[in-house]
Symmetry: D2
Subunit: 331 residues, 4 copies
C-alpha cells in the first residue's frame, strides 16, 4: 500500500488509448496534428489565447517557462520550500545560466505579498545586487495547500506593479482545482505561464507549459530544442495532454486523489502539520509509530525526524486509503 | 509514400508490448527494476562493463555524453556535417556551457586521423586558444556512410595518444551494425561513450547513453537531472531499451531499413552522392525530377539545389521501396 | 572625513613607483618577468610552493578561484553574509555556470564546523539534490572579525574529511594578519586557494589568487583568459603585487588601518554590534545620531535602520580617526 | 627592435599624467566624476548621444558589448579570422552562455554583404537551427585592412534590414581613422556598439565600450559587474580614456603607428599578403629570410610557414622602422 508519491502512479487507460491512437505517421517534432491542436484545446480550457509546449518532465516545464523571463544576471523569487529550489538538481541555475533563486518564507509553502514586499525592499537597485525578474509559485504548494483566487489576485497585482513575470508550477494543478471547485482559469489566476502537470495525475511522460504571453513561448520553443527536450515523435506527448483535457479527465483524476487524501485526513486531525487541501498529508508521527505503520505494509517518506508525508494519486485504491485511515486512527 | 525521415517511423509492436508491461507501480526516476537492468543488458551486448542512462532524445544523449568530458573552456572536434553542429539548436553550447565545436572536414562526413591531426597541429597550446577535450563521430554518418573497424581503431588510437575523449553518436548505430555484419562492440570500437539510438529504429521516446567509463556516467547522472531529463516514470524508457535489445530487435530493424535503402540504391547508381551503406540515400536530382517524384506521391527532403535525401526506416513497406526504385530508374 | 569604504583609498606611493618602473617593454599578458616572479615571491611569503594569478578585481579573484573547484551541477557553502552571495552581482552563478551558493549562518559572519556539519547533514546524496564541492570563508569576515588559527584548522579538517575544497576570500587578509600578529601562512591556514587582497590595501587594480594546488591554477589560467581578465600589459598588475609584498608593505598597511579602527572603537564600546578585529566598525546609531555625525562631515554607510558601518584604510588620517572617536564619544 | 605586437607598447606620458591626477578619493566603481564624464566626452567625439563603459581588456569589451545583443540560443556572425573566434580563449561562448559564432569568409578579413547574405540564406528558420542575432566586424581588420565608409554603410543596411545588431571591434580603431583621414563617426559608421581600443594605442589598462543604444548599455552594466570587471577604483580607467580623447591623442598615436608601418611597407611591395592600411604588415618571407632578420635583432611573429607579421605602435622609433625597411629591402 504505497503512499510514497503520485509521480509513480499508473498511466490512465484513456492515456493509453490516446497513445495507441497516435501511432500513425505524422510530421516530426511538434509539427504533427496533435501538437498543433494543443493551443486550441488549452485555449478553450482557460478561455483565452494561449501557446502550449509539451515537455517530458516538470523540471523542464518549470525551467523552460522561466528561461524566457529571466536573464542570466537576474533572479527568481520563490518560496524556500519550492521544488525548483530543493528538488531539481540545480536545474534553474542551468536553464537560467546562473540566475539566482531568491528564497522567501511563509506558512504552508505559500508566498504572500507581504513577504515578497519585504524581500524586495531589501534589494538595492545598483549593479552589485542581483535583481528579480520573476516570481514562481506552486499550486497546490509543496506542503499540500491551495492558493485561493484572492491570494492569486494579490500576487499578480504585486507582480504587475513591480514589472515582474509570474509563473505557476502546477505539478498538482488538478488537485488545486478540485479543492477549489473552480475552473482552470480561476485556479491559475493571472499568470504569464503555467506548468500544467499531467504525469503525477495519470499521464506517462508529458507536461504542458501554458504560456499566456506568445512572445515568451517563441523563445521557449528555441530553448526547448536547445535543451534536448524536443522529441521527434512529439505526437505521443501531445496525445497525452489532449486526452487529459478531453472530458476533463485531469479534473476527475485530481478529485479522486483528493478524496483519498481527505478520507485519511479525517482520522489524524491534530497530528496534521498543514491543512490537507490537495493530495498530500504531513503527519506528526514518532519513530515507533512510523515503524508500526511500515510493519503493516504502508509505504511513505519520512518528513524530518518526527513526521511523515503521505501522497495519494488518481489510482489510490479506496480500500488502501481506508486501511491507512484506520491504522492512523489506531496509533 | 514517405521517405522524409526515420525519426517519425511507427513504434514497433514489441516496444508497445514492453510499454504496457511496464505499467506496474515501481520506484520513481531510475530507481525501478527495469532501469536497474540496463547495465547488465547492455553489458552483455558489448561484452564489457558499462553504465547506461536513458534519455528522451538523441540531442540530450549526445550532449549528456559530452558534458562530463569537456569543461566550459574546452572544445569538441566534430565533422562539419555533424548533427551536433547543424541540427541541435545550439544544444552543445548549452550543455557544455560555452565550449566550442571545432569543425573538421572529410568525405562522406567521416573524420580521419589525417584531418584531425592537421586540425590539432593548428591549435597553439596557450590560454588564448581553446583546446579540444573530446572527439565525436557519427555511426552511421550524417551522409549515410559507415566507419569500418579499422577506421575506428585509427581514431581511437589518435584520441588515446592525445588524451582526448571519444564519443560516438549512434543515432543510426543499428544501420551501421547491419551493414558491417558485425556485433555491437565491433561497430562501436573503443569509445568512452556511445549514444545508442532507439527512436529512429522503432522506439517511441528512449535513447541510451552507454558509458564505457563509470566515472563519466556518475557525472552524467547529475547532469541529466539538472537538465530536466530525469523522467519520474523512467520505467517506460528503460522498457523500450530492454525490448530493443531483446532478441536483437535493434539489429533486425536496422537490417530492414538498410534492405529498403539498398533496393532503392540499386536503381540510381550514378546519381548517388555518397555510398549507400545505411538507410539514407543522397541522390542527384534536378528540380523537374524532384517535382515528378513528388507528383507520384513520394515524400522526401531537398538536399541543396540539385539533390534529394531519401530515408528508409524499419517499417518502410516493401512495395513503397520498390515503387521508389522504379520511379527513380524511369527518370 | 570619509569612512565609507577602503576600496576607494589612495594608491600607495610605493605602488606608484612600481608601476612606473614596470613601463619597459616586455612580453605581453603574463609572459613578462614581473608576472613570472609572482610564484616565488608568494611562495616565500607562505613558505610553500604556490601558483599565483593576478586579476583586476576581488570578485574575479573569488570566482576564478572557485571555478576550477566546482562543476556546474555543484555548490559552494558560504556564510549568508558572504560577499560572493551579497555583493558580486551574481558573479558566482556566471563563473560557475549555474552552480549554487548554499548559505550557512553563524555569528560575526563566521562559518563553524558545527553549522557546516548541520547543513551538510540536511543534503541527501541523490541526483535531485545539489552537492557542495567547496567551502569559501572570508578573512577578515564581512563583519570585521578574524578567524583564529584553531578555527581555521577545524574548518580545514572538516573540508578534508568531506572531500570539499576550501577557499579564503582575503579581501582584508592584511587586516586579519595584523590583528593576529601572525604570518601569512598562519593567517591563511590550510586552504586550496586564497584571494589575496591588494586594492583595498593601497593597490590600484591588482588582486592575487594564490593557489596551493597547481592543478587548480592550470584550469584557472584558462578560465581567466576566457573571462576577459587576462590583461595584455599584465606587468602592471604583477608590479603592484610584488611591491605590496616587498618589505611587507601589505602588513604595514593593514596595521595602519587596524590602528585607526581600534582608536575609534575605543570610544563606542557598548554600541558595537561585532568585535572590532580588523578595519570595520558596526555601530548602533539612531537616525538622529547618524545625522549629527554627517552634519559634522563624517561619511559612512547606514547598516540597516539603526546602525552604521565605518571603514578605515591604510591612508586614514590620524586626525580624522581621532575626530570620529571624539564625535562618537560625545553622542 | 620589436615588431611583435602593439599590445605591449609603452604607456603614453599623458596617460601617466592622467593616472596620477586621478589619485584623489572619489566614489568607488563607476560612481566617480571621471567615469561620469565619459558619456559626454565620447558623445562629443561621435556627435551623438552615447553610453560608455570602461573595461580592462578588449576581450571583455567585445563580449560585454555582444552579451546584451545575443540570447544564449542565438549566434553572432563574424569573419573566420576574427579575434573573437581565434584569440579570446572561448570568451564569447562564456559571456554569451553558449551562443555560437558563425564564421564567414572574405578577403582581408572583411565581411561583405554578399558573403553575409549567402550565409544567412543557408540558415533555415526552424528551432533546429541557431539563428544569428548580431554581426561583429573589426576595424581595422585582423589583417590590417580598413573598412571604407561605403562598406560600413552597406553592412549596416544589411543588418538593419535583417533585424541584426551590429558591433565593431575597434581594437585598432585609431589606426583605421588615421588611414581614412576621417572622424570617429565616419570610421565607425552606424553601429549599435563599438569596442574603442586604447591599450594597444598607448593606454595601460582601459578600453571603452561605446553603446549607441542606451538599453544595451543598461544590460551591459549589470553584466560587467557579474563578470567581475567592475573595478572599485574605476577612476583610473576613466582617466586613461579621457586622456586619450583629450586633444585627440588617440588619433595622433594611431597616425604615428601607421606612419611607421607605411615606411616599412614601402620597401616590401610585392611581398605583402594584404594592403597595409593600418599598423600591421603581413610579409611573405622564407625561413631563411626570417632567420636573417632575427639575426639582425628584429622581433616579430611567424605567420604560417612562409610569412611574418610585423606590428608597429605609437612608440615605434623612427630609426627602428627605417632599419626594418632597409633590412627587408636588402633581402
Amino acid at each position: 500500500m504505497q503512499f510514497l508519491s503520485d509521480n509513480t502512479a499508473a498511466v490512465h487507460p484513456r492515456i493509453w488509448d490516446a497513445l495507441r491512437a497516435a501511432d500513425a505517421p505524422d510530421a516530426p517534432y511538434d509539427g504533427d496534428a496533435l501538437s498543433a491542436a494543443l493551443d486550441d484545446a488549452f485555449g478553450a480550457l482557460f478561455g483565452r489565447e494561449v501557446a502550449v509546449l509539451w515537455t517530458a518532465t516538470g523540471t523542464a516545464a518549470n525551467c523552460l517557462a522561466l528561461a524566457p523571463m529571466v536573464p542570466p544576471h537576474g533572479a527568481v523569487l520563490c518560496h524556500a520550500e519550492a521544488h525548483v529550489e530543493n528538488d531539481e538538481g540545480g536545474a534553474p541555475g542551468f536553464f537560467l545560466h546562473g540566475a539566482k533563486l531568491m528564497l522567501v518564507d511563509g506558512p504552508d509553502a505559500k508566498l504572500t505579498p507581504e513577504a515578497l514586499t519585504a524581500r524586495l525592499a531589501a534589494i538595492p537597485q545598483g549593479v552589485h545586487w542581483v535583481q528579480p525578474h520573476a516570481i514562481t509559485i506552486t499550486q497546490a504548494t509543496e506542503l499540500g495547500c491551495v492558493y485561493r483566487p484572492e491570494e492569486l489576485a494579490a500576487l499578480s497585482a504585486l507582480a504587475r506593479g513591480r514589472g515582474l513575470y509570474l509563473h505557476m508550477d502546477g505539478a498538482r494543478f488538478a488537485n488545486a482545482a478540485a479543492f477549489l471547485h473552480a475552473d482552470a482559469a480561476t485556479t491559475c489566476g493571472d499568470m504569464d505561464a503555467l506548468s500544467f502537470g499531467c504525469i503525477k495525475n495519470g499521464g506517462m511522460s508529458a507536461e504542458a507549459i501554458v504560456f499566456f504571453d506568445a512572445g515568451l513561448a517563441d523563445v521557449a520553443r528555441r530553448r526547448r530544442k536547445q535543451a534536448g527536450q524536443l522529441q521527434s515523435k512529439g505526437r505521443f506527448l501531445a496525445a497525452q495532454l489532449l486526452a487529459m483535457l478531453d472530458g476533463d479527465l485531469w479534473l476527475a483524476n485530481g478529485r479522486a486523489a483528493n478524496a483519498a487524501a481527505a478520507e485519511i485526513a479525517g482520522s489524524v486531525g491534530e497530528r496534521l502539520l498543514h491543512p490537507v487541501e490537495a493530495n498530500e498529508l504531513f503527519v506528526r508521527l514518532s519513530d515507533a509509530e512510523r515503524q508500526a505503520l511500515r510493519d503493516q505494509g504502508f509505504g511513505f517518506y519520512d518528513w524530518g525526524a518526527d513526521a511523515a508525508r503521505f501522497v495519494t494519486a488518481w489510482d489510490t485504491r479506496q480500500e488502501d486509503a481506508t486501511a491507512l485511515a484506520r491504522a492512523l486512527a489506531q496509533l
